[in-house]
């Protein structure tokens, strides 16, 4: 069974190629190509996952090319971690394909959209299956390409163009970090293979400084891809892409690749305390930072985007705090509920044709199903008890506490509160109250769209039971079979942690209810309390502006400087040489004054000089 796992990514690739060929087709039946082929991938993935569940593993490699005597290999590997990822990715991909059939209805580049989705799925699945860093890096970049293409799908919109460019460049910055880390590791280990790297790490062949350096470089890659601070700014802008894309790429799969990378390279991180701390701190700070921005956004998708950043921060925090399982667990649950939220948001947008929550309201009646599913998602992400988010978030908090990172722990709790607040702010503003925009033509989405949402809704509820203290820690047992040696010790912290978490969540929901539903508290109540802070938060901490003022302007400035240098110094030098020769020519032709006697004089002058030099150097006068 596992031998054929390399086929999984090829079906979406096939879909990509086929759809590019049928690019001009006006028939929306072309969507079925994509759906069908990713469906096959999904079936295979699930089959493989089940096999791995039984304890199977595989790793197959062949030589790709040689660098000297060293063979650079390509192949595939299936282990518990990536088998799980396979399922998540192919599932969400399949559902999004299905959903898009309805969502993209009427778009004139309908097949192209599905082609891009296929390309992305291919890259993402390939990434997951990679047995070595180089191959991972390649798919890593291709994933970025898919993301880029899909963000810029509405290429004629200037914002989409800008966002696509930004996404590519920002993640590229992270990629370079990954690149450096990978190459450095290669010269330490002599191979890109995970196994070889881990073996070297375990045998202590790499100095601790180098360990930290490479781990951090790789983490930079993860920061870029997962939208962590300080490279997070592209992710909210990426919402310019069609909403299914946001669900697939910018919520469930690609942005989680950073987390996956850290998890896949976990033994390396484990070997360096500093690296883990950096991961935890970046994750924690990102979690609360993004959550704070989410509080005041007006665009439904942007709120979700910041929420994604925040949740990814959670996962990083977990990994950094030795909560390997917690991180993966949250990755899984988050994939489901965030995809659900995005699809639901898409359904809303599909209905009202706006993304501004100020222009929505009171949609509960008209979009009953969507509203319900959105509510499930919101509850799950808020950590409402018994839904999936509750368990995974709880586990993160527990492992953070157990790891002794108390500051980060409380940060996470506050972030959880904020998450609950802004999610329900969103829910109330969109679904309750009075309609604020033109909602005359609003109707529920077709079943091809609601069906995937229902599946995700179910998963958002039940996925949490994969790993609970009550019913069994299936996931951690399962992951323990993988190459990563799980951290020892009890990362189920004290019993009061779930209570605190629940309290924070309920507090957030309650506050949102008071402000936006009951309107007992004025909406500007908070911003009046902290006018400066809220201004800053409203403007997203001025990060974009800061980057613009420093890096963007700096680069442009340097470039302009370079142009000036090129024009005046480089060309100037050439021009001065030319001018010198011209001057010489001028002098030469001036001597040629037409007077034959002066020619003779010049000649005699030259001759006398020669004779003088002979006399002087020969020592005639001495």
């Amino acid at each position: 069974m596992l031998q054929i796992s390399w086929l999984i990514p090829l079906f979406p690739l096939l879909s990509f190629i086929l759809l590019l060929i049928f690019r001009k087709s006006r028939s929306e039946g072309t969507a079925w190509i994509g759906v069908l082929l990713t469906g096959i991938s999904l079936v295979l993935s699930v089959g493989i996952w089940l096999a791995v569940w039984q304890g199977d593993e595989i790793k197959t490699e062949g030589t790709w090319f040689h660098i000297g005597e060293r063979a650079i290999t390509m192949g595939f590997e299936v282990n518990p971690l990536n088998a799980l990822m396979l399922v998540i990715v192919s599932l969400v991909s399949f559902l999004v394909h299905l959903y898009s059939k309805g969502y993209m209805h009427g778009d004139e580049r309908f097949p192209v959209f599905f082609a891009y989705l296929g390309l992305f799925s291919f890259a993402m699945l390939g990434l997951v299956l990679s047995p070595n860093l180089l191959q991972l890096y390649m798919f890593w970049e291709l994933v970025g390409l898919g993301s880029f293409l899909l963000i810029g799908f509405y290429y004629y919109k200037p914002e989409a163009k800008k966002a696509a460019k930004k996404a590519f460049i920002m993640t590229r910055i992270g990629d370079v970090g990954l690149f450096i880390g990978m190459v450095l590791l290669f010269w330490q280990v002599g191979s890109f293979e995970y196994d070889d790297i881990f073996a070297s790490v375990q045998n202590g062949e790499i100095s601790s400084g180098m360990l930290t350096l490479t781990a951090l470089c790789i983490f930079v890659g993860a920061i870029g891809k997962s939208g962590q601070l300080p490279l997070h700014t592209w992710l909210p802008d990426a919402m310019e892409g069609p909403t299914p894309v946001s669900a697939l790429i910018h919520a469930a799969t690609m942005v989680a690749a950073g987390v996956y990378l850290v998890a896949a390279m976990y033994p390396l991180f484990q070997a360096s305390e500093t690296a883990l701390t950096v991961v935890a701190v970046v994750g924690g700070v990102t979690a609360i930072f993004a959550a704070s921005i989410g509080l005041m956004q007006k665009d439904i998708k942007r709120v979700l985007a910041y929420s994604t950043v925040s949740q990814l921060g959670y996962m990083m925090l977990a990994l950094g705090a030795s909560g390997y399982v917690a991180g993966i667990f949250h990755l899984t649950t988050h994939a489901f509920f965030k995809a659900l939220l995005f699809l639901a948001a898409g359904s809303v947008i599909h209905a009202v044709h706006t993304q501004n929550i100020e222009e929505m309201g009171g949609l509960w009646k008209k979009l009953r199903l969507t509203g319900l599913l959105f509510l499930i998602g919101a509850l799950a992400i808020s950590g409402f008890p018994l839904l999936s988010g509750f368990f995974s978030k709880d586990e993160i908090l527990a492992s953070t506490y157990a790891d002794g990172r108390y500051g980060l722990f409380w940060l996470a709790v506050v972030a959880a509160f904020m998450t609950a607040f802004y999610m329900f702010r969103l829910f109330f503003l969109v679904f309750t109250g009075k309609p604020r925009g033109n909602q005359s033509k609003v109707h529920e989405s077709p079943s091809v769209m609601t069906l995937p949402m229902i599946v995700l809704g179910v998963l958002a509820v039940v996925a949490g039971y994969l790993n609970t203290t009550w019913f069994g820690t299936f996931l951690s047992d399962y992951l323990a079979k993988g190459p990563v040696e799980l951290p020892h010790g009890d990362h189920h912290g004290p019993g009061w942690i779930p209570i605190v978490a629940t309290a924070a969540s309920l507090l957030g929901i309650g506050l949102a209810y008071l402000i936006y539903q009951k309107e007992t508290l004025s909406r500007s109540w908070l911003s009046r309390m902290f006018p400066g802070l809220s201004h800053i938060i409203y403007n997203k901490w001025y990060v974009d502006e800061g980057y613009d003022a420093t890096f963007v302007k700096g680069t442009k400035g340097l470039s302009k400087l370079g142009v000036l240098f090129d024009r005046y110094v480089v060309d100037g030098l050439v021009a001065s040489v030319t001018a010198g020769v011209q001057g010489l020519a001028k002098a030469g032709s001036r001597l040629q004054n037409g007077q034959v006697q002066s020619y003779g004089t010049a000649a005699i002058f030259g001759l006398v000089i020669l004779l003088l030099i002979v006399a002087l150097t020969g020592g005639y006068f001495s």
């Binding site: 790709w64 060293r70 890096y137 200037p158 450095l184 442009k556 370079g562 480089v570």
Partner: protein, 505 residues
């Protein structure tokens, strides 16, 4: 048969010249067909040569040699102690470049539909240029190399100066003088080496220079002499490559020359610089090269960053691509500076890869110019709407240029940097900044043409079937190398191994 194969290959473009001479100059259709067929013949011969070439065998193959010029130096009558021979042969490296030349020439010939006048003389010069390029890569001694090297200059001068754009003459002069400086230095170095060693043959020279210093002293070859020669060679080929600050001619040529010519120029002619650096720089003076490696690497990184920074704010897409070439040639230097297998392979891959990519991009720019009569970025916007295939290929080319995995650019960048990281990690780390900047300027240029709100173009129609041939062929080649690099690297390995053996790496 095989013994003459290489010479037939080198001079095969002359067949086209011969046919063209007897074609009436007003018969545009036949001339263009002869132009394309005339380049197909060398391509066919190159493929035959490739099949006769033993991939795994190292060393020179298909060699031919005979006495050519006999100045009887320091000898009594009848003996020639300093023979100048006609020597050609191929190894893995030159085979690859010959193939590249043949392929790009065909595609450039197809792309020459944009030439509006004087097709006959255009194609005659084009064939001569191709002959020069093939000869450069097949030559096995300095004299022959130099002759073919110069042969490429003259047709280029005409092609730029006659068929170029507004400031064509200035560009042609720039080209001529800068390259003249390069070849002048080259000639001095070549003759000096010849007079010291009595041979012009690459292998014999390498053998001689590798002798122990005590023996070399008898031939009056000091270490300083070797160092001097190496520096001269480096400078000469730095002009050709070009290395900043010697690049301004190249920018001018890229902007002013007609697109098919730029395809050739950027695709192959610049590569002669890289080829020279590998064969003469690293091949003949390994020890000295090694001691200069850091400086080479430094220049590589400077090139990479300088080109990239300047490309960011250019307003003309041709200039963007020109500076991008400067930047990408920095990667060649970076690979060479690594002086190890990975770096060297990377450098050669970059040579091939950039050859294909820049040919593709300049071809597309040519198409664009054909449609809009301009290459200013602000003229364009939203081209993807009416020219979707064009936009797709352009984007693919751009992505290849910024080193997207799965395309040839990635392999070369990866290997060059992999190599440098082993030797000079800090320098390499600074260099990786270039990877980001490349993404910045490539996307800026490509997206501002294809994406965004649509701007009116006089005749925006998508790639015609003829135009698709070069576009798709180049793209396919780029993808092929990107996905299956072993084909190239296996062919290169014996040659590079031999060079590296000298370098002691």
């Amino acid at each position: 048969m095989n013994t003459w194969l290489l010479s037939i290959l080198i001079f095969s473009p002359l067949l086209g010249v011969l046919v063209l001479i007897f074609t009436p100059s007003h018969d545009e259709r036949s001339i263009k067909w002869i132009g394309i067929l005339g380049t197909l013949f060398p391509l066919g011969t190159a493929i035959v040569t490739l099949s006769a070439f033993n991939m795994s065998g190292g060393g020179l193959q298909l060699t031919e040699r005979f006495q050519w010029v006999s100045y009887e130096v320091f000898q009594s009558k009848g003996e020639v102690s300093y023979p100048i021979l006609y020597e050609v042969g191929v190894n893995g490296l030159s085979m690859v470049l010959i193939l590249l030349t043949a392929v790009v020439s065909v595609l450039a010939a197809i792309a020459s539909f944009s030439i509006k006048q004087n097709w006959k003389s255009y194609f005659i010069l084009f064939f001569l240029l191709e002959m020069g390029m093939l000869g450069v890569f097949a030559a096995q001694n300095l004299f022959l190399f130099f002759i073919f090297f110069e042969i490429t200059l003259i047709p280029m001068f005409f092609l730029i100066g006659r068929w170029g754009y507004l400031e064509k003459e200035k560009a042609a002069y720039s080209f001529l003088i800068y390259n003249g400086v390069g070849s002048a230095i080259l000639l001095i170095a070549f003759v000096a080496m010849f007079m010291k060693t009595g041979t012009m043959n690459f292998e014999q020279l390498a053998y001689t220079f590798a002798l122990p210093q005590s023996e070399l002293n008898q031939m009056l070859i000091t270490k300083n002499f070797k160092m001097g020669m190496l520096i001269a060679l480096l400078v000469a080929f730095a002009v050709k490559l070009p290395v900043a600050p010697l690049h301004s001619w190249m920018v001018r040529v890229h902007v002013q020359a007609p697109p098919p010519v730029v395809m050739i120029h950027s695709g192959i002619l610049l590569k002669i610089g890289a080829y020279g650096l590998i064969v003469f720089g690293a091949g003949l003076f390994p020890d000295q090269f090694r001691s200069l490696a850091f400086i080479v690497g430094l220049f590589g990184v400077i090139n990479l960053l300088y080109g990239a920074f300047l490309a960011i704010t250019q307003t003309d897409v041709k200039r963007v691509l020109a500076y991008s070439s400067v930047s990408h040639m920095g990667i060649v230097l970076i690979g060479l500076a690594a002086v190890n297998e990975a770096g060297m392979t990377g450098a050669v891959f970059q040579v091939v890869s950039h050859g294909l990519i820049s040919a593709l991009l300049f071809f597309l720019v040519g198409v664009l110019y054909e449609r809009a009569g301009s290459s200013e970025l602000r003229t364009f916007g939203g081209v993807a709407k009416r020219m979707p295939i064009f936009a797709g290929v352009m984007l693919a080319g751009g992505l290849a240029s910024l080193g997207l995995p799965g395309m040839s650019g990635f392999i070369s960048e990866f290997m060059a940097f992999l190599g440098l990281f082993e030797e000079m990690p800090i320098l390499a780390a600074v260099g990786t900044l270039g990877l980001i900047l490349t993404a910045v300027y490539v996307l800026r240029a490509v997206l501002s043409i294809t994406f965004g709100a649509e701007k009116e173009l006089p005749n925006a129609y998508d790639l015609s079937p003829t135009e698709r041939i070069p576009a798709f062929a180049l793209l396919a080649a780029i993808l092929f190398i990107g996905i299956y690099p072993a084909w190239l690297s296996d062919m290169l390995r014996p040659t590079l191994d031999a060079i590296l053996l000298g370098l002691g790496g």
